[in-house]
Structures are given as C-alpha cells and as structure tokens.
Symmetry: C2
C-alpha cells in the first residue's frame, strides 16, 4: 500500500463542494432540501438534483448544525446531479472514494481522498471467483446453476469488502467515509458484481443484460462502504467490449485528442479502440491464449522468476534470458514469448511461418510425444529442476495470436481510411503494455512498424480511468458520452478480416514492405 | 366502493405502453436493457431511461419469454423516464395505480386500471394519526418526541396498507399489481408519510425539509404495493401550501387556461391560487375554524342529520332547516353556518358587524354563562334532545373567517391588477365547495359578488389531481412545471392585508358598492 499521492492529471473540479447557504427567513423561506439543491444545481450546471430519502431526513439537522455551511459529496446521474452526502462544514472527516479495476483474474483497488484528490492507499487481490472457475466461460456456466449467480456475486462482494476494510484501516478511516465507488471491469465481471444474468453473454448473438448500468448504492450491492455511497459501474459497448475499455479511453484521453490515436488492450481478447475527439471506432477479437499466461506448460503471468526478456546471439545462437527479480527461471510471460519468437526468427531458428528449423535449432530441438519442442532453459538452470520448453504448438498458437492482432489493427484502421503504419500514437494498456518490447512485437509483425516513440505503455488504464471518474467531474461526465460515441465493428461477421488474418500468419507479414525495419532472417 | 368508471378527462397517452422490439442478432446486438430503454426513450421523448437493478435482473428472462414483446409501466423522474415494471406481452394481469388524497382528517384512495384508465374502486378512512392528535400542530409536537415521527409514519402507512389491501381484494387484484402511487397531501402530512422531520414547518420562518420529494419506491416507505412501485408525493410550495393544492391546480386546469381563473380550497387555512397558462400566483391565510367542523358545540362536518341549508322567512322570521338525509338535526356544517349567517343578516337578526340583534331575535335569544346565544333548533326537535344553539362568539369567529377569506381574495387579485368582482371563473375545491351556497357566501361578503354561473364546485381536487397524474403522462409531467411556476405571496408579512381584513369584517363589506346583488338588511 502506498502513501498519499496527488493525482495531477485530474483537471477541473472534483465531487466535493462546500456551500455557505443563506439561512432561511420569512422573506426567503424555501425548503431546506430545495435550498441546498439549488446551490448544487448551480455548482454542477444541471437542471435537476436528486437527494436520497435517507439523506433528506438528516438534512434539516445537518444544515442547522453547520449554520447552513455544508460540505457535500456530489455525483452525476443519468438525468442530472446527485447529492450523495452532506455534513456540517468544519467537519474534519475525510470524504473518500474507491476506484476498482475488476479483473477476471486480479482485482486492484485504490482508496482516494475525494477533496484533496490524493491516493490514500492501494491494494490488489486475486478475484475470489477464481475458486469457482478460472475464466469467464467457467464462471458463466457456474452462474447458470441454481444459486450460482448469487454465490459468484457474494464472492466478489466479500473480496471487495475485506480489502476495502483493510485499506480503510491502513488509513485509520471508517468505511462509512467512503461515499463513491467507481468500478471498471469487463462485461461479464460487471454483470457478476451487479448480480445480473450472464447466460446470453456467451451465446450467439452475445447479448448482455445491460450495457449501461443504473447508478447503484453500496447498500444495494452489499458493499461495506457508507450505505448511501454510490457505485458507478463503467458502461460497456457489448459482450466483448466492457467498461474496462471505456475506462481505458478515459485514461488515455483518446476522446479528447485532435490527432487520431489507437488504444489496444491485450488479454484473451485483443480489444482495440481507434479515434480522436470527433469519433471513436472499436473492435475486439479473440487473440488466443498465447499472450496471457496460458501458453504451454511454462507459460505464466509476470511474477518473480518469470522470463520477461530474451536475446539470442544471431551468430552463436546463445540464449541470454532475463527473469523478473533475477531469480532462477520458472516460466515465461507473454512479453517474454514475443521476445523469444522475435529472437528465434532473427536468429533463423524459426521460419517465416513460425516453424522450428531443425537445421539451426540443433540440440535444443527434441521430439516429445511426437511433437517438436525447443528447450529454452535446461533442467540444471531452471527453478523447478525441469527444463523449460516451448512446443511447435505453442509457437503456432502465438502465430495465430499475432496474426489476429495485426489483422484487427489493419481492419480497424483501414475501415477509417488509415493504415496501421501511419498512426500518430499507439497506446498499449495493461501489464502486456508495460512489459512488451515493441521492437520484438514489430519483428514478428504483431504491432505495426511505427517509430518506437509512438508506442506508449499506459499501465492499468482500467484503474486509472476509474480513479479519474472519482476525482474529476468532467471525466465522470464524459463516460456516457464516450460510450455512446463508440461505433463497434463486429469482426466475427467480417470476411475481409479472415483474409487479413491469413495474410498476417507469416513473420513479419506476407507483405514485407509494411515492415521495413525488420531485417530478413538469417539462414 | 364504486364499479369501474372511465376517466374521460385524461388526455394523451398514459403510463402503460406495449413494445414489440426487434429481437437481437449478430448485426444488432445491443444489450437487453438498452434495447428496451431505447424504445422507452423514444416513446416518452426523453434523453434518459432508468431501470431498477431488481427489474434489470429479470429483464433478459421477461424479454425472451414474450419474444421481445413487452408490456411496460413507465413513469417520469426528475431527469427523464423510468421503466417501473415490465411483463411479457400477452399477460392478462392488470397494471394498477393508486391515487391518494392524504388529508389531515380523512384519507381517500382510488384504485385505477393504468392501461384502461378506469377507476376500479374507491375508499376513504379517517387518518389514523388522529389517535395521536386531531390537527397538524398536535402531530408535529408529537413527532418531536423520541420515536414520535416513526410512529406517525407507521400509523399512516398501516392505514394505507390496510385499505389498499381491501381495495385490491374487492377487485380480485394482487397488491403486487399496483405499480404507481400518487399522493397529494398538505406539506405536514406529506412529510409525515415520508418520515421527514416536521419541526421547522410550524416555527418561524416555517421551513419544510423539502418542497420537492424524491420519487420513492413502495418498499422504501413500507407500502404494501409491488416493492418496485413508485410513489410520487406531489410537491409543495411551502409549509402552508402543499401538494394537495398543486393537485388541485392540475385537476382544475388553471395552468392550461387562457382566461385568468381562481381556485380556492377552504379548511383551517384558505388556500388560493390565481392564474392562467402564463402565470400562477398563490397565497394562504388562516381562515379560522369557523368553516371547518370546529365552530361551536353544534358545529360538525357534513354527515347525516347535519344542517346544511337554512332559510329564514324575512317577514315571520320562521326557520326552515334542511338536514342531510332529512334526519333530525344534530349539528350544523360549514356551509350551513354560512347559510345561517346570510339568512340571519337578510332577516335583520344580526347587524352588519354580525352581532345578534335582541329587537329581532326575540325568544330565540338567551344569555348563557354571560354570553348571547341564538337557538336554532329547540330541544324537542333536535336529535340529541338538547337545543342546538349558536353563540355570539361563534358568529364573531365566522365574521373573522369570512373577512379573512375576502381579504385574501382581494389581496391576490389586486396584486395582479384585477378585482375579485371581475374574475371570469372561480373554482371552489373540496367538501366546502360542494356544499356551499354561493349566494349565501356572497350575501355575507365572503365570496365576491360574481354571477353565480362563474362559481364551480370541484369536489375532491386533491384526489382528482392525483388520479390525473396516474393516467396521463402530460398531467404527471406538468406537476413540476406547475410547482416551479407558482409565485407565492406571503400574507403574514403584508400590512395591506391587515387593513383589508378589517374593512371586510362587516356584512357584506364596508364598501357595499362591491356587492350590488346583496339587499340591505331588514330592520
């Protein structure tokens, strides 16, 4: 957990406002709630301001206690503004918010001081729904069993509550002081948190229960913040394009830039957004498991001891491996696999189809159970005492993933009269973006051959976007406009996409002129 | 309870709508809720449509069960539209609404078929809060005691639930079928139903907790309708001008008329609205208890055996009394008192100050405990075997009430450059309006000397307005605009008003030229 960190990128006013109201008199006898709501409407520039019944009951007391000076937590709802909380001004109690990146595998939560706009603490934990199933598919099947959906919802709510409690304790803050929560997750995870049916998400024609979620209260969801706290679930565009991506657009500012830029988030799916302040185009396609932890027995997510960088001397074909925290190697992560493939290709150890070449792989090549395997780390050096190997099947899977990625990029840019190679800015979200070596990704033809400075690793844009909505009115208000402004391009029904996919299943591409910076392989 | 009655005056569409949505496909894969909300937004012509989380959870099942044909109960909220309920089309279950006139003394409830727009049944009952205190003042004092507010709220909620249950049983309708409730009450009663603090309503400067109430759910209030049913409390203008009057404006259509008209509702307070489709001016003033049941020991509310019409032969001074249902007389109601005073004046038995004249009252005049009393009904004819008498104090009280009423009418009309005597239309709300003889009210100078056809008794405008909001979108949507458009004139701080009040404390008025139709009294 980190100490307080300012959020410099939050522009414009936040959600905490202080008002000194004129106390009522015979000449000015509007009702307490109406008096405060008028100030809120003016402050937010909206026509309506809603107040919960529970808060309304307290309002006459709160206003009089503070001599009509009041500190408020505001938020926006579909049709206007919302008074979430009010306290007599002069209170020294913090008003806090919680930003949540609701990942299928991992959940990251950030506690924020809403008024000072500082990060108070941060934590992350494995999504407790993993005990039911590791992936979305398994969880959705489980959710269809009697009581399954309720159990999955309870698991994630309990997990959030436990860690929210820990975050608050670490800051000596009562959980009651948390008045706003923003949650960015993929469509299935968002549905499971809200307890919404998920059955149709994975069945053609892939229909979520909702893309826009109602603004909920913590009490409604059983979340242990202030009962009247509001929970904003980032809206999605469809079953395969969720609120995490909308948060990503918010964080990268794609919707505010004059220049056209591209945002890509890679997991089991590659989700891509292309656009600028005038328009936003999105698509998502199966990228295969190669880029997540799932590739081969040695594939894993980034963690200590995991190979994240590979160099192969093209002359001697000696391997130079780097592991996270320099521990003995025990697996390889997505960025390591891309590095590996690029280096194997440049050293002539795989051909343009990604096939292992016996004439250059030498002793490293073995046939196990009838399939070709390449030894990356011999048994005597590996952490587990077993050699780390990559199979031809793993490499084939990577080739499909990289081809899918390039085909997606080509399809979405071409659709807007551009090419992947002319993008002014290319944002890469998530762990993948932070660890990947763009040069390697270019070498295998996965990313377009752009000058390296145009690639921007963005880190956890889902958490970043969720945080922005907590601390910036402008950002929170932009969310719906971003969502509504997105045109979604369906790839599953796109024949041209399949042709492009086939053409991209070579290193770097059947059309090598698109990759001038990639040298031809050694023979 | 009445049989189904059509509500002819409901114009434009109501709150039930049926949609046949295009089922989703790969080419049109928007989410279930978004698909339905898009149709609702288009239907209502609004930018936003909200759906409760609980309904959202059911929506995928409901839509698929009906092949994407769906019957919806809609409503409007501050910032847009609201999907209150949805069922597969083809359901034969009624969707019902409940209109409530939440009176301090009496509560009237009307069950309505929202789609056919017919009255299904109606009932009324004494406000159960009367066990705590008969009037607003007593209840507010009680509400300030620990647990007092919660107890008062429980009393009225229990009363509503009990009679809602009865209404539904009489129509063989499950209470779950009630999806909308509209409640029109004065400011204090509305606060007590919502459980809002009432302390400041009766203390200078007379500040309600709220004039606009949030749209609540039945579950929030503990009302035994469908838990997701919406409860709309009519908004008020101030402590002395509540939602019942806004409902009255809605019912009389004051806000839609080209001609300026006046609406008056008389109880302990006289509440008056003057206006047309361009502007609305309102004021309220204490009218005294004379016009309610509270005048003298024989005063009562209209009921069988109560004197509601009095004629006195100006020659013989013989009394001709009419009682409700022609039963032996046991009291006199407000309209009877006005008739009595008018006839006493015209027969020369009271003077222009309302004082009993010994020279004309004869044997009917007696001094009891030092005060003058006039016998209306001798003991041998009265229902209770005791003579019915009116005291000089009662008549003085009536004189103050009638003077207050005329002064209010004069003040509000003069304020807009009019006079009471030039009003094109004069609506009289409530029981008072239904029973009063305008000619008698004119004779004592309580109502202006208008041609009789300009007076319109309107019955229960509070219930009527509440019903309109249930069955007409236009009406429900007009409520906030009506409220916001009202300019409230404070009489308590108006010195001119006090002068006018003094001038009106004569029969018919110090300025008799304003009452050309009233003959001079017999001597």
């Amino acid at each position: 957990m980190k100490a307080a960190v300012g959020l410099d990128h939050a522009q414009g006013p936040g959600w905490v406002a202080r008002f000194q109201l004129t106390p009522p008199s015979l000449q000015d006898n509007s009702a307490d709630a109406d008096r405060l709501c008028r100030a809120v409407r003016r402050e937010l520039g909206v026509d309506h301001c809603q107040v919960d019944l529970a808060l309304l009951k307290q309002l006459p007391g709160i206003l009089r206690e503070g001599g009509y000076a009041v500190r408020c937590v505001l938020f926006r709802d579909a049709g206007g503004g919302l008074l979430v909380h009010a306290a007599p001004d002069g209170t020294d109690a913090l008003a806090a918010g919680l930003a949540v990146d609701l990942g299928t595998t991992r959940v990251v939560m950030r506690l924020v001081d809403l008024e000072q706009r500082q990060v108070l603490a941060e934590t992350s934990f494995d999504n407790p729904q993993a005990t039911v199933g590791p992936d979305i598919l398994a969880r959705i099947h489980y959710a269809e069993q009697p009581g399954g959906l309720a159990h999955l919802q309870q698991l994630i709510v309990d997990g959030i509550n436990q860690h929210l409690d820990g975050l608050c304790r670490s800051c000596r803050l009562p959980t009651d002081a948390v008045h706003l929560l923003t949650v960015a997750g993929n469509t299935a995870m968002s549905h499971l948190l809200a307890g919404l049916p998920v059955r149709c998400i994975i069945r053609e024609p892939y229909i979520p229960a909702a893309n826009r979620f109602p603004l909920m209260t913590a009490a409604q969801l059983g979340i242990g913040a202030n009962p009247g706290a509001r929970v904003m679930l980032f809206p999605g565009v469809g079953s395969y394009f969720g609120g995490d991506l909308i948060a990503g657009i918010l964080q990268t500012g794609l919707h505010r830039r004059a220049e056209t830029a591209l945002l890509v988030d890679v997991g089991t799916n590659a989700e891509v957004v292309l656009g600028n302040r005038e328009w936003l185009m999105a698509c998502a396609g199966a990228a295969g498991p190669a880029l997540e932890g799932g590739v081969s027995r040695m594939g894993t997510t980034a963690a200590p001891g995991v190979i994240d960088r590979v160099r192969i001397d093209p002359e001697t074909r000696t391997f130079d491996l780097h592991t996270i925290e320099d521990l003995p190697p025990r697996g390889i992560c997505g960025s390591g696999v891309i590095d590996l493939a690029a280096q194997l290709y440049l050293a002539g150890m795989i051909d343009i189809r990604g096939k292992l070449r016996p004439e250059t792989c030498g002793d490293r090549l073995q046939t196990i159970e009838g399939a070709a395997h390449l030894t990356i780390v011999p048994a005597e050096v590996a952490a587990g005492g077993e050699p780390l190997r990559i199979s031809q099947a793993d490499l084939d899977s990577l080739m499909r993933s990289k081809a899918a990625m390039y085909a997606i990029l080509e399809t979405i840019t071409t659709g807007m009269g551009l090419t992947p190679e002319t993008l002014p800015a290319f944002f890469v979200a998530g762990t993948f973006g932070s660890f990947i070596d763009p040069q390697s990704a270019i070498a295998i033809g996965m990313l377009p051959d752009l000058p390296l400075e145009r690639f921007h690793p963005m880190g956890n844009t889902s958490l970043g976007g969720a945080t922005l909505a907590l601390v910036s009115r402008e950002a929170a208000t932009a969310v719906d406009a971003i969502r509504d402004g997105i045109t979604y391009m369906e790839l599953n029904v796109n024949q041209t996409f399949m042709n492009r996919f086939s053409a991209a299943k070579f290193i770097p591409h059947t059309d090598t002129s698109r990759f001038p910076s990639v040298p031809p392989p050694r023979r």
